[in-house]
């Protein structure tokens, strides 16, 4: 009778990850664990660094969402120096940020999440990637995907120097502005981005929502866990990516907490285990009860579905239409079905694109007042943004020269670390019974956590795509008796 199943490696986190599944004597799943085997120690080596350099150091936490770290660090630096960005600088930061959000989200859909649906979860692994998508939807559309990614990233590289590891954020503003010529050009790109985001939603509609088999998978129990949800909102409780308060709703959808970034420590704590290098954030006021669902467990979720659950509406009209449709289709708020993360992601991409248009239609964005020079003594500050993958918190304490004395980073994907473990375990329990293991298990595991788009998810895994999973099945004596791979 087999006892332990190892899936090694999976690669959707910083570097590597592996899944260990434990069976009981009946051959049913007792426990599934996702281990993250890497650490670099940014919270320690930030100490001694000038706080204004953190927007250039912290993006190296993740090369896929460097802009998120850059922005959180810049906002934390603002707070440390007790300075606000100028009005123009704020608009430019929001333009950079929404551009990044739109590009990152649509990239995930076409290169990663989407292929599962567009090509089909039963399709051979070799086809479940962007090439397969192009094969199905046509070369012209494939070209469009690559083109929109490049054009939107051009906005980011123009304003930030580089799209991978931006440079221009400073406490009190930004180093570079936008002239009229570029405003007009980028406005065209933004309008294309809106059309493209609508187009992606259309594909989702045609391929997923009109396919009963897929819809059944989406709403099925295997991929559903009931947790709290946390997301950033503006004053009107609308989904917001760059700046706002954090709102938490309970598994029934009721507001549980709403707090300012500087108060995050009253609400969020991180739990430590010995078998993984990541920590597990949880709601302090509920407490850590283990990897369990429900109102009594402090586990919460972040990222697209969580943000839509935690807010009351979107900020922009077209996105709002899709938001309404999603909740109507899936039976009201909150939606617990993990696969709905894919849908929510595309709705957010549309809002980001619409915001890009709004910002670029504002003539004030070409203003030349880019910087407020800090005058106060630096002390301590918190900067929070929504990264595509979840709430991102940068908290710095400095000495009077602005050199970091302590840093605390709660990094986006980690907000879902507990939930990912739980999703994998739930799916494993649904599909592995009586010691019977099948190829379907591999598909099942991927489907259970890819919707979270853990950091490293996007873009880096373009090609033959699909998580490379290897499953080793050992008997009681620890001898390898079967191997499934893909």
């Amino acid at each position: 009778m087999t006892r332990k199943i190892t899936i090694d490696p999976i690669t959707r986190l910083e570097g590597h990850g592996k899944i260990e599944i434990f069976l009981n004597d009946e051959g049913n799943v007792e426990r599934a664990i996702l281990q993250v085997p890497e650490l670099r120690g940014f919270e320690q080596f930030a100490v001694g660094r000038p706080v204004e350099e953190m927007p250039r150091i912290t993006p190296r936490i993740c090369g896929v969402c460097p802009t998120a770290h850059h922005m959180a660090a810049t906002k934390a630096a603002d707070a440390v120096f007790h300075v606000e960005p100028t009005a123009t600088a704020r608009k430019i930061r929001e333009l950079i940020y929404n551009s990044f959000f739109m590009e990152d989200h649509t990239l995930h859909f076409f290169f990663l999440g989407g292929p599962d649906f567009v090509v089909g979860p039963q399709a051979p692994a070799a086809e479940r990637n962007i090439l397969g998508v192009i094969g199905k939807v046509g070369l012209e559309i494939g070209g469009k995907v690559i083109h929109i990614r490049e054009s939107v990233r051009e906005i980011m590289s123009y304003l930030c120097g580089k799209a991978i590891h931006p440079v221009s954020g400073l406490p009190g503003g930004v180093a570079k502005g936008l002239d009229e010529e570029h405003r007009v050009r980028f406005l065209e790109t933004a309008k294309e981005a809106v059309e493209f985001a609508e187009f992606a939603l259309q594909i989702f509609d045609d391929v997923v929502l009109k396919n009963k088999a897929y819809v059944d998978v989406v709403v099925g129990d295997a991929y559903k866990i009931k947790t709290y949800y946390m997301g950033m909102v503006n004053a009107k409780n609308q989904v917001e990516f760059y700046d706002g308060d954090l709102r938490v709703v309970d598994p029934d959808g009721k507001e549980f907490a709403k707090f300012k970034p500087s108060d995050y420590l009253d609400h969020i704590a991180e739990h430590v285990e010995t078998w993984t290098y990541v920590k597990f954030p949880f709601l302090k006021k509920v407490g850590w009860k283990g990897f369990v669902e429900g109102n009594d467990s402090g586990v919460y979720r972040v990222a697209p579905l969580a943000r839509l659950n935690a807010a009351e509406s979107m900020q922009t009209p077209r996105a709002q239409k899709h938001y309404d449709r999603m909740y109507t289709t899936l039976g009201g708020k909150p939606v617990h079905n993990t696969l709905a993360f894919h849908w929510a992601r595309l709705i957010e991409a549309l809002q980001a694109a619409e915001r890009m248009v709004e910002l670029l239609e504002d003539a004030g964005i070409t203003g030349t007042d880019l910087r407020n020079i800090p005058t106060q003594t630096p002390t301590e500050g918190v900067g929070i943004v929504e990264a595509p993958r979840g709430v991102l918190i940068h908290h710095y304490k400095t000495d009077e020269k602005g050199l970091i004395t302590a840093a605390n980073l709660i990094v986006a994907t980690i907000g879902n670390a507990a939930a990912i473990n739980m999703s994998i375990e739930k799916a494993a329990k649904a599909f592995i019974k009586g010691g019977e293991i099948s190829e379907g298990l591999l598909n099942m595991a991927e489907i259970a956590f890819r919707p979270y788009d853990p950091c490293h998810g996007c873009g880096t895994h373009a090609w033959p795509g699909g998580i490379p999973l290897t499953m080793n099945i050992y008997n009681r004596s620890g001898i390898l008796i079967r191997q499934l791979r893909r």
Partner: protein
């Protein structure tokens, strides 16, 4: 009988994923690459097992791109394995080349890093004082994790490296040039850095605005002054690593109106990038009397963390003396 396509592999060590992303940034060009080579190993995308690589004949992979620094036991093992199986190893990106930003951890060690990450960070709730273990028991089963070393190393301190592709992340033109050189069999001598042997200043738009004699009266941190988008940063009193940094990166940070921080590493003739920049910067400070020298040098914050921002592990001293780490 056509020649089989060269086998190519990609691997990541202590990496952020930016170098993988830089491959995707090749955009439409990537189709050319994919058509010309046989990608046999790319853990983020392909069915990867260490066993598959172990089973490959030695030297059967034509070129392997490894990004990320070496800071954990698993990374070191994979680097050795890939070295055996590959004809050419390219250190891809600043971390593999120099150690990169995660190399700043070399001012600390495992004990201090764990104490902070799993202990003293303000949101960490760890009353039992737990920390990740290389072996732990959960549910009656043993779980393993790779070991976290005290020191980050660039790739060439661990295995023999054939070429270096510098940058954080490398510019797409440098990547495409490297790939074309491989496909056309036109690689330079072993050990070369695949980028021009000139400093950033050579190509920088602001080079002409340098005065005849650069002389800095006051050192300014970037947030302290409005940054003139057309004038050399050093002439504005702002630390810019350009003179001590290899060009070929497109000077994109300068285009973003921020000073260079040295991610491309030094030119060929230099062993220690931080020391070279220190030498230059000290010589252009405008101070002669001892007290003036003290004052201006004291105003420079975090010199080691700035001059060695990307290159600490590859520097002559490599890391802070272990016994001095607290």
């Amino acid at each position: 009988m056509t020649n089989p396509k060269p086998k190519v592999a990609f691997y990541w060590c202590s990496s952020c994923g930016g170098c993988e992303e830089s491959i995707v940034d090749l955009g439409a060009d990537i189709l050319k690459v994919v058509a010309a080579v046989d990608i046999v190993f790319w853990p983020v995308a392909l069915d990867f097992k260490k066993k598959d690589v172990e089973a490959m004949p030695d030297k059967s992979i034509a070129v392997t791109f490894i990004n990320g620094g070496i800071r954990m036991s698993e990374q070191e093992e994979m680097a050795h394995l890939l070295r055996r199986k590959s004809q050419i190893i390219i250190a891809h990106g600043a971390c593999a080349h120099l150690g990169g930003i995660p190399g700043l951890a070399n001012f600390w060690n495992k004990e201090t890093i764990f104490r902070t990450v799993y202990g003293t960070t303000v949101s960490t709730d760890n009353p039992k004082g737990l920390s990740p273990q290389t072996k732990s028991i959960e549910g009656g089963y043993e779980l393993t994790l790779p070991e976290f070393w005290d020191t980050v190393h660039p790739l060439d301190r661990v295995i023999d490296v054939d070429y270096y592709l510098p940058g954080c992340a490398p510019h797409r033109d440098l990547i495409m040039s490297a790939v074309m050189a491989i496909l056309e069999g036109k690689l330079p001598p072993k050990g070369s850095v695949l980028a021009p042997n000139k400093s950033c200043c050579d190509n920088c738009d602001r080079n002409e605005t340098k005065p005849e004699k650069l002389s800095i009266k006051e050192v300014k941190r970037p947030y302290e002054v409005l940054l003139d988008p057309k004038t050399c940063f050093l002439a504005q009193g702002v630390i810019c690593m350009g003179p001590a940094t290899r060009g070929g990166c497109g000077e994109r940070c300068i285009e973003g109106n921020m000073p260079c921080r040295g991610c491309m590493g030094p030119t060929d003739q230099v062993y220690d990038q931080g020391a070279k920049f220190l030498s230059l910067f000290a010589s252009i400070l405008d101070a002669t009397e001892e007290k003036d020298v003290e004052r201006i040098v004291d105003s420079i914050v975090d010199p080691a963390g700035t001059f060695y921002r990307f290159s600490l592990p590859s520097s002559i001293l490599t890391r802070k003396k272990m016994e001095a780490v607290k």
